[in-house]
Each structure stands twice: as structure tokens, then as C-alpha cells.
Symmetry: C2
Subunit: 723 residues, 2 copies
């Protein structure tokens, strides 16, 4: 052991990382058939990526150890170096806080004795002598490989309490510096990093830097399966990883096939906006799925060509029928399948031969019933002929702007700008019922079912470039390829809000999801963090998904964070304020001049400030004046209205005046989000509907839902970098 064994700590600058050094280490490990790095190997890897570690060296004798200790400086830590021993502490292979030559010498011998007792015959390569770090905040920087999301970097505080509280945050790797900084604020205990009880704040740059470097390392080397820097000592000056654990897995992961972006767009356009649709299994017989599909196509008003396919019939519902898609003279864009599972594969081959772009596989009887082989067969046919598959096990889909109801469910034709999808048929039916009941205009409703091929990110890619769609809302139970979804969602959500209800959030829900679709539900915290990283608005419940889908598209994008509540009912004001906090909305601190301006319009015992409490017995004029002021003043960015039903200002009077003022301002080029909570007798239901129909999301008997809808719009605007 010589002096050159003592590496000086690497400097955390942005120099290019030394990939070849890491490659060399990994090759050695692979050659030796190991799956974990030793501490010195871990140090080499860290050095190569500029991840700072303590001064250290490896000793092969007690004398060596003493010499090294003097070089790195007391106190030191001693750790066994043995490829076979992963849990060094358990093996008695770690000693900390050794302050003298004597301590180090004795310590060396005792570690060797411990390890030999723990695992006779373990190959011992020496003892690492390391600078002992103290002070600062102990944190963990780590990495995991998720089956759906791939490489993720993780961050949390060190210590057992954090483990108990599961206070860890994840980001897709590689993480940007901004991602890394957001992780420091993304744990419950974030305040600990800012310095508490007079302690110094950590150096955020240094800590973010180490996170970025770890994320880059694991992205560059997919064979790194797991990584733990635990603890990292984060002080006001630096962040140094005191212990490095790296586990590798050289088994290649199956690559998931992804068509090119152009191919997805081209195919999805033909599927979603087809000029010609074949119905395989079309039927004249009431009650048959193939009959319902035909009726929906015809009665829905679809203007393209419909080709009924039936082995025997010459015509179905007055339209010429064909025995096979191959007999159809013209081009076909999409084929809707309404035949039993066992006939699907053969018909799909014929679709392939006919060069049809997409197959809408309504039939069930595949993966969801355990028939995995049957589903794999369809996937193989689809790949072979380059047909995209929707389903199987779905209700089909709607694309309203083409008057297209390619489904066996009831028709739906209220055109609008939100596209919805669901993994489950039941949830799809709830979407249709809610849409009809709330008169919610949609551009599309799509069933994804078993997702043998087309999934959420294919839909996002289509809706991204679909001018009829401004907002996308999706229900899912799993993401087959979370990474692809996140990448697409991040891009799309910069332009259009993406709302997701992820079912199976809880372990009980995840178990149910497993039995339902055969999909392994991921760790919910990972979904939570990746959704945020991707700018996705997360709905917490089915009603949230539906309410956000209805409200977000009609709200203009806010130009800033300042929210003001104007309320006739003080009690609503309190509940609306609660809801603002819960939904991350910022109640504007009312400037004095604006406060005075509001006071001019309200009774002397009303409360200005924020909420502006205009009090209950006021005439329409008071609502009018205050709402107008709220819209006119440039410092205010959004309004929340709390209405209280009185004889003096009845519900519809209130609703009409709000819309009038809104339109008056719009004519002057002023557009701000307005939501309303209406407290009153049943007439407030009609008033709420009127407001909603005129661009103001409004709810009777609820203070929390309108604010949640506004909160969803803000979540999106922030994620898209618009605020």
C-alpha cells in the first residue's frame, strides 16, 4: 500500500464524466460474476462522475491503516473490503470515530476477527480507512430501477424516522438541476435542509449536483440496478457521500417496441378520424354488439363510409355487406371488431392484408380472463402487419368532431374540447353518463382495456396534435411503459393540460388492480412524483377527474398566482379559504389602495381584505361592482365567488350579472379564471348550470369543488411554466 492509494477527493465541478473508468469497473464485476461493487470500486465510480466521497485508502495491514489514517486525518472510519460481504455493519466490519494510532491499529485487527467469525472463508481484500464525516445534515441519495418507469433517482433525509415516515421523493433519471432542486423541497421534512434551531442551511447547489450526477450515472449505465449513497453529509459548503452501495444486474431488459412518433401520429389519425370504417361482425339483430355498433355509427351521424363485414349477409341496415375486409373495394382506415374472441386472430390477419391502420378490439376473453396466449397472438399479428390495436376488452371509442361512435354503448354527440380515456369499461360508462348529465362537451372518449398495444401515450401523442382537443383526461390502473408516458406527457402538458386518475393508489386498490388486469401496480409515491415531474394534474377521485375534465377546459389560463375571494356569505369565505390552502392557491395579500377600492362598494360592516365579504343582504349592484373591480385590477389574477341566496339578489340574477360583467371585460380584452360556489335553495342549481355554460365553473352546495377545479388549472399552468 503506497501513498498513491490515497485518492484526494474529487471536485464537484461540471467536468465531463469519465465513462470509460466506470465501464472498466463494471466489466471486471461482470467477468467475476458479482452483482455488487466493493467500496473501493464504488469510490472509483463516484470519482469518475464527480460524486464527492471522503478521503480514503485501502489498507492490507494494521500498519498500513495507521499510516493512511494519519494522511486522511483523524477521526477515521474503518470498513472491511470483502466482495462477499454486503452488509458490513452486521458482519462487525465497521468501526467509527477512531481517534488515535492505537485505536486504528487495534480496530484493524478486531474487524478482521469479526468478519472471519461472521463468514468463515470470506475473501478479505483489506480494510478501507476513511475520513470520518460529521456535522451537517445526513441525507440519502439513491437510485432504483422501476419495471415501468426505469431508472429513478431518489432523495430523502437519513435516519430511521424518515424510513418510518416513508419521506422519500423520486424523479426520472436523468434529472435536470431544476428537478434535483425540486426534490429538496419535495419531502415533508424539507425544512430540515433550511437549517433549524440555528443550524446552517445545506448547500442546495452541492446537494442538487450530487443528485444530478447520480441520475446521470444510472442513465448512462443501465446495468446499475440500485444505488445508495447513505449517508451523504450535506453541510453549508459541500455534500459528501460517506458510503456507497451499488448493485448491478447484467441481464438485458427486454426493450419495449415503440413505433416512431411520425408513425404513431399517422396511424392514430387514421384510427381516430377515419374516412372508412369496417364493422367486423356487423349484425341486423337487436341486442348483438355488432348491431349496436352499426346503429351508433349510422345514428351518430358518421359521414364516412361504413363497411359491414358478415360471413353471410349481403346488406346490413341498408348498407352493402362484405364477407371479409379483403372483399371491400375501397380503403379502410379502421376495423371495429364485434365477434367472439376465438375468431379475432383470423379476422385481424385479413385486416393486415388489407393494410388497415387500426383494429378496435371490443371482444373480451383475452388477458383479463387469463388468455394471455390469445392476446400475445394478436400482438404478434399486429406487429407483423403494422396494425395498431385498441383493446381488447373495450367499449370502443367516440370522436365527436367526426360524429363517430365506434362503440356498442349509447351514442354521444356533445362536441367539446376535452378528450377522455379509461382503462376500465365501467369507468368509461361513468364518463359517458356524467358527460351527458353535465352537458360536458368532449372531443373523444376512448376505452383502452387490456392495452395490448395502444396505450395512454399513444393517445396523448394523437391528442397533442388534434386541434379539436385542448385538455386530456385519463383513467388508468397501470402504465405499461411509464417512462414513455412521462416523456410524452411532459411534452404534451406544456401545451395542453393532462389530467390523470391513477387507480390502485393504495395497496388494497393495487391488489384489486392486479386481479383485474394482471398489471402490477407501481409504488404510488413514484407515480405521484413522476406525474408532477411531467406536469400532469393528478385527480384524487373519479369525481375529481370528471369535474376537472369539465372545468379546466373552459377556464382561461391565469396570468399569475394572486387569487381573490369575493363572497356574500362570510361562512362560505372561510370554507373557500380552507379550500384555497388545500389546493395550493395563494390568497392575495390585499394592497391598501385596492382594499379601499373594495370598501367603497360594500357596507361598512363588511370585511375587506381577502376574502372580500360583501355581506348577505346586498343588491345585485354590490356583486357587480366588486366582481368588475376584481376583473379590472391587474394585480388580481383569478376570482372565486361565494354566492348567498337572498330575495334581494336571487340566484339567476347573480348568475346573469356575473356573466355580463365577464363578457363586458372580455370585450375589453380582460380574461381571468372565475369559479363560483353557490349556497342557497334549489334555484342555485339552475344558476350554477347557467354559469358553467357561460364559462364559470360553478357548484351548488359546495365550497371545495370549484376551488379544486381552479387549483387544477393552476397546477397545470405552473407545470407548463406559464406562471
Amino acid at each position: 500500500m503506497t501513498d498513491e492509494a490515497l485518492k484526494t477527493r474529487s471536485v464537484g465541478t461540471d467536468e465531463a464524466s469519465d465513462r470509460s473508468a466506470v465501464r472498466k469497473v463494471l466489466e471486471k464485476i461482470k467477468a467475476e460474476g458479482r452483482n455488487a461493487l466493493t467500496a473501493p470500486e464504488g469510490k472509483l465510480v463516484c470519482d469518475a462522475y464527480g460524486i464527492r466521497v471522503p478521503r480514503e485508502g485501502a489498507a492490507r495491514s494494521a500498519a498500513d491503516a495507521v499510516k493512511l489514517a494519519e494522511q486522511v486525518g483523524f477521526p477515521v472510519v474503518l470498513k472491511i473490503v470483502s466482495p462477499g460481504i454486503l452488509h458490513k455493519t452486521e458482519a462487525g466490519g465497521v468501526l467509527v470515530g477512531l481517534k488515535s494510532r492505537e485505536d486504528v491499529s487495534k480496530g484493524y485487527d478486531s474487524i478482521l476477527a469479526n468478519v472471519k467469525r461472521y463468514k468463515a472463508g470470506a475473501k478479505i481484500e483489506g480494510v478501507q480507512v476513511q475520513q470520518m464525516l460529521t456535522g451537517g445534515q445526513e441525507v440519502i441519495v439513491g437510485a432504483v430501477t422501476d419495471p415501468s418507469f426505469g431508472k429513478l433517482v431518489a432523495f430523502g433525509l437519513g435516519g430511521v424516522l424518515v424510513e418510518v415516515l416513508k419521506d422519500v421523493t423520486f424523479r426520472l433519471a436523468p434529472a435536470s438541476k431544476d428537478d434535483a432542486l425540486s426534490m429538496l423541497d419535495g419531502i415533508q421534512a424539507a425544512e430540515m435542509l433550511k437549517g433549524v434551531r440555528g443550524g446552517a442551511a445545506v448547500n442546495r447547489d452541492a446537494l442538487a449536483d450530487i443528485i444530478v450526477r447520480v441520475s446521470r450515472l444510472i442513465s448512462d449505465f443501465p446495468e446499475i440496478d440500485e444505488m445508495d449513497l447513505n449517508p451523504v453529509f450535506a453541510t453549508d459548503r459541500e455534500a459528501i457521500a460517506a458510503d456507497v452501495r451499488i448493485v448491478v444486474d447484467f441481464a438485458p431488459r427486454p426493450e419495449r417496441y415503440r413505433p416512431s412518433h411520425e408513425d404513431i401520429v399517422a396511424k392514430m389519425n387514421r384510427i381516430m378520424k377515419p374516412d372508412a370504417v369496417a364493422v367486423i361482425g356487423a349484425s341486423s339483430e337487436d341486442g348483438k354488439i355488432g348491431n349496436s355498433v352499426m346503429k351508433n355509427l349510422i345514428n351518430g351521424g358518421y359521414q364516412g363510409t361504413i363497411y359491414p363485414i358478415h360471413p353471410k349477409a349481403d346488406e346490413i341496415m341498408g348498407i352493402e355487406a362484405y364477407k371479409s375486409v379483403k372483399d371491400v373495394p375501397g380503403e379502410i382506415d379502421v376495423a371495429v371488431f364485434a365477434i367472439p374472441a376465438k375468431f379475432v386472430a383470423q379476422a385481424l390477419i385479413e385486416c393486415g392484408e388489407k393494410k388497415i391502420s387500426g383494429a378496435v378490439l371490443i371482444p373480451s376473453g383475452f388477458a383479463e380472463t387469463g388468455n394471455l396466449e390469445g392476446q400475445t397472438e394478436l400482438q404478434e399479428i399486429g406487429r407483423k402487419y403494422n396494425i395498431r390495436l385498441m383493446g381488447p376488452n373495450i367499449y370502443g371509442f367516440y370522436y365527436t368532431h367526426k360524429n363517430l361512435c365506434a362503440t356498442f354503448c349509447t351514442a354521444y354527440d356533445v362536441k367539446g374540447s376535452v378528450a377522455l380515456s379509461s382503462q376500465s369499461g365501467g369507468i368509461g360508462m361513468a364518463i359517458i353518463g356524467f358527460s351527458r348529465s353535465a352537458k360536458m362537451g368532449v372531443s373523444a372518449i376512448v376505452g383502452l382495456g387490456n392495452k395490448s398495444d395502444i396505450d395512454e401515450d399513444d393517445l396523448l401523442t394523437f391528442f397533442e396534435q388534434d386541434d379539436n382537443t385542448h385538455v386530456i383526461a385519463q383513467h388508468c390502473e397501470d402504465l405499461k411503459d411509464g417512462r414513455a408516458f412521462a416523456e410524452v406527457a411532459k411534452r404534451v402538458s406544456n401545451k395542453k393540460p393532462v389530467i390523470v386518475l391513477k387507480a390502485g393508489r393504495t395497496s388494497a386498490g393495487a391488489r384489486a388492480a392486479t386481479s383485474h388486469t394482471g398489471a402490477l401496480a407501481g409504488n404510488d409515491k413514484i407515480y405521484e412524483d413522476v406525474f408532477r415531474q411531467s406536469g400532469v394534474i393528478r385527480a384524487r377521485s373519479l369525481r375529481d377527474l370528471l369535474d376537472f375534465a369539465r372545468g379546466v377546459p373552459i377556464l382561461p389560463t391565469p396570468k399569475g398566482e394572486n387569487v381573490v375571494i369575493i363572497t356574500g356569505a362570510g361562512g362560505s369565505g372561510v370554507l373557500l379559504s380552507d379550500a384555497c390552502v388545500e389546493n395550493g392557491l395563494k390568497l392575495m395579500a390585499m394592497p391598501d389602495d385596492l382594499d379601499q377600492a373594495f370598501r367603497k362598494f360594500i357596507p361598512p360592516f363588511g370585511a375587506a381584505g381577502n376574502p372580500v365579504d360583501i355581506t348577505g343582504g346586498e343588491p345585485p349592484k354590490t356583486y357587480q361592482n366588486t366582481v368588475r373591480l376584481g376583473l379590472e385590477d391587474k394585480r388580481i389574477h383569478s376570482l372565486i365567488l361565494g354566492y348567498w341566496h337572498t330575495i334581494i339578489t336571487p340566484p339567476m340574477v347573480f348568475a346573469r350579472l356575473v356573466v355580463e360583467v365577464k363578457e363586458e371585460m372580455k370585450a375589453k380584452g380582460i380574461e381571468k379564471p372565475i369559479v363560483a360556489s353557490l349556497a342557497g335553495d334549489v334555484e342555485v342549481e339552475e344558476a350554477s348550470e347557467y354559469l358553467y355554460a357561460n364559462g364559470v365553473p360553478a357548484y351548488p352546495y359546495s365550497t371545495e369543488i370549484p376551488v379544486a377545479v381552479l387549483g387544477a388549472k393552476y397546477t397545470w399552468a405552473r407545470g407548463a411554466g406559464l406562471l
Copy 2:
């Protein structure tokens, strides 16, 4: 300093506490004009109440200190004893981990030097020499005095991270042993007490015991304002308070007047179920409040006597009018005020002279507009004449079983078993609108407004003994007397569910509440914990309050924790499972025989287990068979149904069959809670209404609300000790 100064630690048994010893300490402090106890005084108090503290003694010289250290055993802690120094560490007055005679001797001198530097002239009584505790889990046991709830005992883990996470739990003092044990499970980091990473679990009995003793101490001595045992070392054997801090406040707190239970019941019965009502300010003129009240009384169908009071009129709406209540020949139970604020006091005096039980003070213009004097005047008149005051600043109240609408709002007459109240008029109007819209039967709706007298606990006391009321739901922004509320709620909730929406949960909401009612909103965590301790169901939103009020009364009380989901839509099953976890419901682990029994009724590809997924295309018989089995099997205690709209089993067919099976089972004496989530086209709305009207809380397009309603019922049943 002699050996007898060395107290042996007291033994934590249940011997009677020595109140006189505490009294003596407190009297000395009062006499000396201090507001905090010294460490030795704290120890005396702890000893008197059997709260274990370390072995220790007070030294007046370095030599004394060394001698004491040898007696308590090394290592020791030294702490300054000085009445003027509260923050000992800051003053350099604490040294820990002294292991030798020499350390102790030097330490004594350095502490004295530090403290003299910190505060020249501070009176130094000596240095405490204390057994140093190590190991185990550091926790905090404390006590605070809340303006509304009075004495509260607090518990949390020690350390700065817990402070950052605000992970502390409270109970009203005195706390029972069960209360104390529930505190150990009431913090987020509860698992830390159970032993993690191989550490031993704390002795729960010992820890609960110290909590109970602290809670008893602060209850016995109201002058103890705050108390901190921080840290308490909790090991697997014992719990010892290493540091004691007690702050006292000898200023007497104003006692809040509370009528006797009998008096409240008698008066409230006369007010809520009156035989004769006077309307002060009755009017024939449309649009006047006194006219609306008259119309509501007459048109609402009130069968008692109505006395219009008006200074000039001889009759109003065909009923003989009087100039004053004093002119009325018969008895009057309650007077409804519909006159301007300035005339209220005089009319109230006349009510007093007439011996009327209650005044319903609709007029505004009192505390809510800053007119505190006016409100105090009314309170004084009320006390003088023993009239109970409802309001002022309210909409009045309804008591449907007497057809009584003593309000200026619209009439409401759907009789039912839930009584609602609101502090705010706006929320009251939302209650009325929702009730009418949802056809929710109510026993009463009451406005409490400024709560100058009658408040939530008076209502609880009335509804407790009111046979027409089975469930009580209240909206409040503050509790003027949280302790009285908690005591009454605890008693009442053992018989009838009590649901509370506490507005002003967040600091923004609390600020709004302050400007609205002049009430100081309390710390929300205290409300949370006290509500739980009192068996109160907490609603998180206005809709929750209304949905719970509607659903909880019609659900039978569950006989156990086993919940089973039966669903036609697998996707709903996943979301329903999520909702179960969120609402603290236990999905029953399905026994093999029961699993087999369910499988007999469902397709082979359906999923048994829990959720029971009967799959989407099933006929009515499948729902029927599985629901019947779910009700018949004694191991299942509650059912959650997930319906999926299909042509084979349309919504109303499903709804009718569920009600049929339910009635069939009821005839056999089987009653279990059933809730339903309906996914489908708009017909599911009618089906949901039918189900609700027949005892099954059911919601279209929502998986979370029906489960939340069931969760509310369970929360109550557990709190009432029925599970």
C-alpha cells in the same frame, strides 16, 4: 448539601398523588411572584404525582457535585439552578455526559462562569447533578392551556425532525389510560415506538402512565399553564422524564356560565318544540322579514298558537296582533325577533318579564358588525331574565316534526331523523337547498350565528333526548367553549352519531373566520384530536357534511369490521378499494369456503377474493345471488356494490333487485350497511335515487362518496364502542 438531598426516584405505581406537596410548591412560587418552576421544584411536583425523574440532587459547590455524581452514578448531567434562567442551554448552564470526578468538578466551575457571563447578577441557587439517561426512544410529554378546550395533554417524539413535521397529538385532560394509549398510535411516527431496526419497543404502559399522570396534574392545578417533559426516555422497561419545565399563571380565568343540564333540556324543549310562538315585528308587508316569518309559520303548518307582535296593527295575516308580548294573555314559549337591532334589547326585556324561554334573534348588527356592546347587553338581559338566546344574526330555525319554520328563509317540511345546524347563514341556505334537492328528511335545521348564548353543545343536549333526531350534523367556525362541547359530544355520540364540519381548518381559513365572526380559530390539530376523543365524525368539506348527514342515518349500524366489495366493473373495484383504505375500512380477507361460494355464482374468469368481481356482462341473477350471499354470511358485516350499466342488467333492474334482496333479508332479521357506486349512462341517476330512498346510499359517477359515507358510519360505531 447532605445525602438526604439525593432523592431516590419515585416508583410509578398508582398510589394517590400528593396534592398538598404540589400546592406548597405553587404557593411558594406565587408568593415570590415567579411564573416558572426551578428544576428541583419541578422534580418535587413530579415526585408528588408519581412521574418518574432521574436520580439527582442539588450541589452548592464543586465538591458537593462530585459527591452527588458518585451517588447517582456516572455519567451525569450538570444543570444550573437559577430562577431567572429559563433557557438553561442557551445560558451555557448545561453540561452532559460527564464521566469522571474531574469532569464534574471542572464542569461545575465552568457552568457558573457561563451563567454569570450570560446574565450578570442572576441569582444562582446551585447546580443540579443528575443521572444521565441514554438509550430508548426520546419522547415529549407536555401540557398546554387552550382558550377554548382548556387543559390538554400533548405527546410526540423528541427531536427537531418531529418539530418540523409537527407530529404531535393532543387529548383533553384528564386523559384516561385508553386515551393515553391512543396517543401512542396517534402520531405519524407511531412505528418508532414499536421498535425499528431491531430496537426494543417502548413500554407502552409506562409511557401511557406518565401521560395520564401529567394530565391529572394539570387538571388538578389549573394554575399550571404549560408543562414540558422533554425529553422523556422511553425504554422497554420504563419512562423517565429527563427534564421538567413548568410554567404557571395565577391569574384566574373567567368562568363561562353554563346552565344546569336540566335547565338546558327544559328550556331547549320549549324553544325547539313550542306550543306558542310570538313574532316580534310581525308584518303584513311582502318582503319584510317579519312577513316571511309569519308566512313560514302559517304555511309551514305549525299547529301551535302564533302571536304577532306589532306596535300598531290589530291583526296580521288574519291573526290577532299585540303591541307587546306582555299584552298576550297566554303563555309564550319562544319569541322570534324580526325587528332592527336597536329595538331588540327593549323587546327582550319584555320577553323576560313575560317569562318566555327563548329568543330567536334574527336581526344582524351586533358582534359581526363590531357592535360588541349591543351583543353584551343582550347577553346580560338574557342572563337576568333567564331567557336563552339563539343568534343574533341568524336565519332562525326549523323543527319539522312540529311543522315549525321559525325563519325568514323558504319553508322546509321533509321530516326525517337528522338535525343540522350552521354558524353561518350562507351555509344554512346550502343545507336547505341540498336537503330539498336530495329529498333529505331532517328533524331540525338551526342557525347559530354569533352564538351569544345557545351554541353547539346546547343543541347537542337537546337533540340527545329528542326522539325525532337520530343523527346530528353541525357546521362551526369556532367553539366558544370547546371543553363543554367535547364533554357533551362524547356523551351524545355514544348514542347518536355527531358529524362536524369545522371551518377555518387552515391558517388562511382561520383568518377569514376571524374577520367573519370575531372568533379566534383554534389550532386545527387540537380540534382533530379532541373530535376523535369525543367520538365526533369530522367532515372535511361541505359536501361531506351534507352527504354524511344524508347517508349515515339510513345505514344500519355495522356489527363488525369486515367489508366486502361486490362489483360488476373491475375498474370500479380498484377505485372502491382505494376508497376503503382512505376511509379506514377493512377489506375482509376472504375465507376459502366463502370464496368458493361466491365463485359458484360468477363466471370462471371473474375474480373472487375481495373485491368480488362478477364481471360486466352478467344478468340480474348474478348480482342477486352474490348480494344475497354477502348479506347472509355472518362473517361479512358491510357491502359495497359497484354497478356497471349494461343492457343485460339495466340500472333500475339492478336497483330494484338490491332493494328486494335487502328487504328479503330484513324480513329474516338480517340488516347490514349497503352502499353503492353506479357507473353508467344517466339512468344510473334515477337508480341511485331509488336506492337511496330505500336505505342504500348510492351515488352515480362516484366510487369515493359512497365509501366515505360508510366510513363515517364506521367512525361513529368505533367511537361509540360498538365495534
